[in-house]
């Protein structure tokens, strides 16, 4: 029964990993752009939720809503103002620019909030759970996170598959020059994708801040988990990203059940194994030639 419990907890935390990975998956899928500041943005969002809760009457959930919207706006602006200029055949300028932004965010947070661990105290939802058996219980908060992740990722996937704008995203991902000929402003579309990415990572940062503690330097590990989820699931597929997050979560949880403290290592090993054996990911489409 402890194994069943470990499996369930793994699936639940996998939802959070998938939510972290959403923005990376989308920005890589649409514009082949890897944002190394992704984890730091999640941490920034968590701090903003704390800081702004006073403004919205003390509710962290309301504050989170505000932060998600503001972060989406920042995402749009940073794509138009910075990242669009780094796109091209060479991925290095974008990687360097986002790496630099990540460092700026870390240091600014350090300066303003100090290095002390913080957490978002959401109250009773953090401790309440559904007891299934004596060994198995499902926490409400992780369940909410998983459901939000499923809704966000499947919503995005349906948006891409079935809406007019989603079709334009796919066309632009295929061939931005030809998309321009259809009247599509690729620069604007990239910025919309980045707005969604920032919004999703802000949401993930909020959940992470509620689930555990965070500090200005927490972003690196979050980026790594997100990146692993994207690669395990398969680049460019949002369903794959959801599955990748869950595979990563389950791997970590099962490993931790057997050897306490081995969770991160086990995740990295699965990540490397997927890269070595099936680089297109467990669920990704094979790269088109």
């Amino acid at each position: 029964m402890v194994w069943v419990n470990a499996l369930i907890q793994g699936v639940l935390v996998g939802g959070l990993y998938a939510l972290f990975a959403t923005g990376l998956s989308l920005s890589f899928g649409v514009m082949r752009f890897v944002n190394l500041a992704h984890g730091d943005l999640a941490v920034l969002a968590a701090y903003l939720v704390l800081s702004w809760s006073g403004v919205v009457g003390g509710s962290y959930w309301l504050s989170m809503t505000l932060v998600v919207v503001v972060m989406a706006g920042i995402g749009y602006a940073s794509q138009r103002g910075i990242f669009n200029f780094t796109l091209g055949a060479d991925p290095l300028p974008g990687i360097l620019a986002s790496f630099g932004i990540g460092i700026v965010i870390q240091n600014a947070l350090q300066e303003h909030f100090t290095a002390t661990d913080k957490s978002i105290r959401l109250g009773s939802i953090l401790t309440r759970s559904i007891k299934v058996t004596d060994d198995v219980s499902i926490g409400w908060f992780p369940l909410v996170i998983l459901l939000v992740a499923v809704v966000v990722l499947s919503g995005l996937q349906l948006f891409l598959s079935f809406t007019k704008l989603g079709r334009e995203f796919r066309a632009t991902a295929d061939d931005p020059k030809t998309a321009q000929l259809m009247g599509i402003n690729d620069k604007h579309l990239y910025a919309v994708a980045m707005a969604i990415a920032f919004g999703a990572v802000a949401l993930a940062g909020f959940f992470q801040g509620g689930r555990t503690t965070f500090a200005p330097t927490s972003g690196g590990l979050l980026l790594l988990f997100a990146f692993e989820a994207v690669v395990i699931g398969g680049l460019g597929s949002l369903w794959g990203t959801l599955a990748g997050g869950i595979v990563l979560g389950v791997t970590q949880s099962l490993a931790n059940q057997q050897w306490i403290g081995s969770n991160s290592l086990a995740g990295h090993i699965v990540f490397l194994a997927v890269l070595a054996i099936r680089p297109s990911g467990l669920f990704g489409a094979r790269e088109r030639s």
Binding site: R167, D174, D175, K177, M182
Partner: protein
């Protein structure tokens, strides 16, 4: 009446590479104008300049409006559609989606999916297929259909016969009168002089980024075209 398209003193290229040198052409409403020339003569660059995808100086005036500062993605709204060399269908989209996206950002008009299917009946059974698994001729018909969905007043065709069997090329060129009848003016770029002369009202021959000869097919002798094409006197 002014020309539909007037290009004067056009210098254009990619980065440091200049492909067009002081080029001038004009196109009237309802015409089919062929641009012929050898590989590297600058034909495709000329079309890319009209749709706004190369750096340029000089003047491009379309229907009285200077296009110089208008970004590429807004030019289809002016009624300019390009069928790019190599078809360039969107591989992740179905055939139907490829057609639909051609009309996303333009006003409704004469062309819709049904009209395109009437023009190219071979597309009809393919609508739900992925576009990257089709023959060259099928892809070319879809690419032209996609451009027509934007209801262009000026349709630019870049090397539509390239890599296609003669019978397929014939089928595509037979669609041109219907396209012109819909109110479109056509500029077609061709390496195949025979095909171009057969279809066009007027011909420009390009050599090394300049117009080396122009006239109606009847006016131009094969020898003159060959000389203008290859640059041998």
């Amino acid at each position: 009446m002014t020309h539909l398209l007037t290009i004067e003193n056009l210098n254009a290229g990619y980065g440091d590479f200049q492909a067009l040198f002081g080029l001038g052409i004009h196109v009237d409403r309802g015409e089919i104008v062929a641009i012929v020339g050898a590989n590297g003569a600058g034909k495709s660059t000329l079309l890319r300049a009209i749709v706004g995808q190369v750096t340029m100086t000089g003047s491009i005036v379309f229907d009285g409006e200077s296009l110089g500062s208008i970004p590429a993605h807004r030019r289809v709204g002016f009624g300019i559609s390009l069928v790019p060399e190599g078809r360039k269908l969107f591989a992740s989209l179905t055939v139907e989606e490829n057609l639909l996206i051609g009309g996303h950002r333009t006003a409704a008009g004469r062309w819709n999916i049904e009209a395109v299917l009437d023009l190219f009946p071979l597309i009809r059974p393919l609508l739900k297929r992925q576009s990257d698994k089709l023959s060259g001729g099928e892809q070319q018909a879809i690419a032209i259909g996609r451009a027509l969905m934007g209801n262009p007043r000026l349709l630019l065709l870049d090397e539509v016969s390239l890599g296609l069997a003669p019978v397929v090329v014939k089928g595509i060129y037979e669609a041109l009168p219907g396209i012109v009848a819909s109110g479109a003016t056509v500029i077609l770029v061709e390496q195949d002089i025979g095909v171009a002369l057969g279809a066009a009202d007027r011909v420009y021959c390009m050599l090394e980024g300049r117009v080396s000869l122009s006239g109606t097919p009847a006016e131009l002798s094969r020898e003159a075209i060959a000389a203008a094409y290859f640059g041998v006197a």
